[in-house]
Symmetry: none
Subunit: 206 residues, 4 copies
């Protein structure tokens, strides 16, 4: 998913970024990212670890920033879990939380997530990427489940969708990304019940 340049045929002959090198760099970069974190990661170290010249990195990405952004985006989105929609609110909710949980449990997501969120305050490109590639799909899935429940009469039509979405995602994300604590099945079960109750009360006040 990396290397975007040089994919269309040049006049003749020409050289193309080599797959194996791209793979080696990607592996090395993700490894470094996990080892030392976003801020302390150095391009030189990545190149060294990949057994590659620095130029090979800069041929693929214009900067350290861009490389990490792209790498993480593809890693995160490729692990985006499927979200079910059975129609029953409680089981949909449970499914949604299970999907979030399994995604957040990915070691890379947990390790890098906090770094990215911190960095995204300063880098609007990164912020936009996270918004459209990561947050939007989740929000969409949540909204889908909520709308279904409203249509079935399980949730009131006065539901504050914005707040409801926050309520759905926040506790698990907060616990995993910020408190760095694991959540077991029992936790998820109780959380589902509590979230269900919260949603029913999340209506705009008269």
């Amino acid at each position: 998913m990396a290397a975007k340049r040089k994919i269309d045929r040049p006049v003749s002959g020409g050289a193309v970024l080599r797959e194996r090198v791209t793979a080696a760099i990607t592996d090395a970069a993700l490894g470094e990212l996990a080892d030392v974190g976003y801020a302390r990661m150095s391009m030189e170290a990545v190149a060294r670890r990949a057994g590659v010249g620095k130029a090979a990195l800069y041929r693929r990405w214009p900067s350290k920033q861009a490389m990490i952004t792209e790498l993480v985006r593809s890693k995160i989105t490729e692990t985006l879990p499927h979200i079910p929609a059975t129609g029953d609110l409680h089981s949909d909710l449970r499914g949604l939380l299970a999907a979030y949980h399994s995604h957040l449990a990915n070691p890379l997501v947990a390790l890098i997530g906090a770094d990215l969120l911190a960095e995204s305050r300063r880098d609007s490109t990164l912020a936009d990427m996270l918004q459209t590639e990561v947050a939007a799909p989740r929000r969409q899935a949540a909204r889908c489940v909520l709308q279904g429940a409203i249509d079935h009469g399980e949730l009131p039509p006065t539901l504050d969708l914005k707040l409801a979405t926050d309520l759905l995602i926040a506790p698990l994300a907060f616990r995993t990304l910020i408190l760095d604590e694991r959540s077991d099945d029992e936790y998820l079960e109780t959380l589902t019940a509590a979230t269900l109750a919260a949603l029913k009360a999340a209506v705009r006040q008269p």
Copy 2:
């Protein structure tokens, strides 16, 4: 709050870190922090801005990391809001959320919070500090309110305290620190209602 060394009796001579210098550095550092952010802040720039030699910084803190950590810690804790305990669960809850909100609305907290949380994954000293200095007092306040409600019979004794604490803090923290969105009074009001409902359902399943 800075300068920890040299506080006990020197052998002789005048050799105490000077207050004015410490203050100048602190101001400059917070200024830089606000201007360029955690990652891009340089000690050189802080020293330059404070009109101070770099050594004056390293005489006070062992590293850039430590300096920022300590500055932010003191800024964060000094703004820790008072938390009321009237006995009425709904109004206590509202008060608690208002207190969290006003604290998180502090620009410095919002700016630096995410950085510190990210960094704390790799720096257990920082993690411990945040845990004891920031998280613990909040958790304690929450627990206090919750226990009162249980004693008054407003919440069931089977309440999962761990989960309940997460439910109390997570939505607001997530929204502010991670989504970087403001919350108005109306939002807080609805959130209070929803949280109240969630808490009542946050009991361990039979």
Copy 3:
């Protein structure tokens, strides 16, 4: 002779380029120069060899070019030999040639001289430096001896001074710098005689 900055007292305290570091760099640079030549010399190698950071080099000289120029200038001029002037043309001539010879026999001069002359075609700063610091004094010495001989009637007043100067310096310089051959006493003796004869004939044609 290196380090020209920071020699006058700043407002207070301040830091000064350290003598030992300058010496280490100078040695290392001259060593590299002798080993790999002007063109192939690298600042990194010099820094490595001197056990010094690259910044220490760039604190002293603005560029590789400038460093080499200055270093060589000082090395060459510091070995500039004393030139006698007895009044007797033959012995003055012999002395002059001996002085040139001993200077050109300096291994560094011999090794670097050709590099510098080549480079000076492209670098007018270097060319000017060589002209004023190296060539001019020699030319002056030669002119002095020649003028004395004219005054004594040993050389005709119609002597072409420009040509005569070339005749004095060229054979030895050419032989040493370009042919890279040594010259012994016997050679110098014969050369003196031949040069004397040449000078007497070096008059502008009628």
Copy 4:
């Protein structure tokens, strides 16, 4: 004169270095040489200028060094002037100096000569090439004229041939290659006279 490989019968197929490409490279290289000089010339620039792949260069020469050396060698030798031998020492001498002069006046010789001489101190292959291809023919011509003069009795049989050769070539070479100054007819005329006198005195001392 370039391309030495693949000049004899290829086994099959069309696999001979193409003349047009060689010519384009040669032109481009000489152009770059003139534009930016020996040291700053880059193979990439030559390839670009010739509209040619870098491989085409390295198929013909093993290195930048080798390419320049060979190009310049061929340019220098192809401009080697004819040297007359009338029997009259003065006019032969004048002819010799005129030939040297016209050769050295070739802009390429002047531009590259000093570089090559400098480089030849560290590259014995280059030194040998210059010796056999450039210096030897000139020395031979000089020796020829000198021997003729000895045979005719115009020069003493005790003439120091080595020194005499130096005396013949040095002033002009020095002036052109090192001082980078032009020489006009009048200069050459006077130089001839002076050189003639010098030669007559260039006998080994008793």
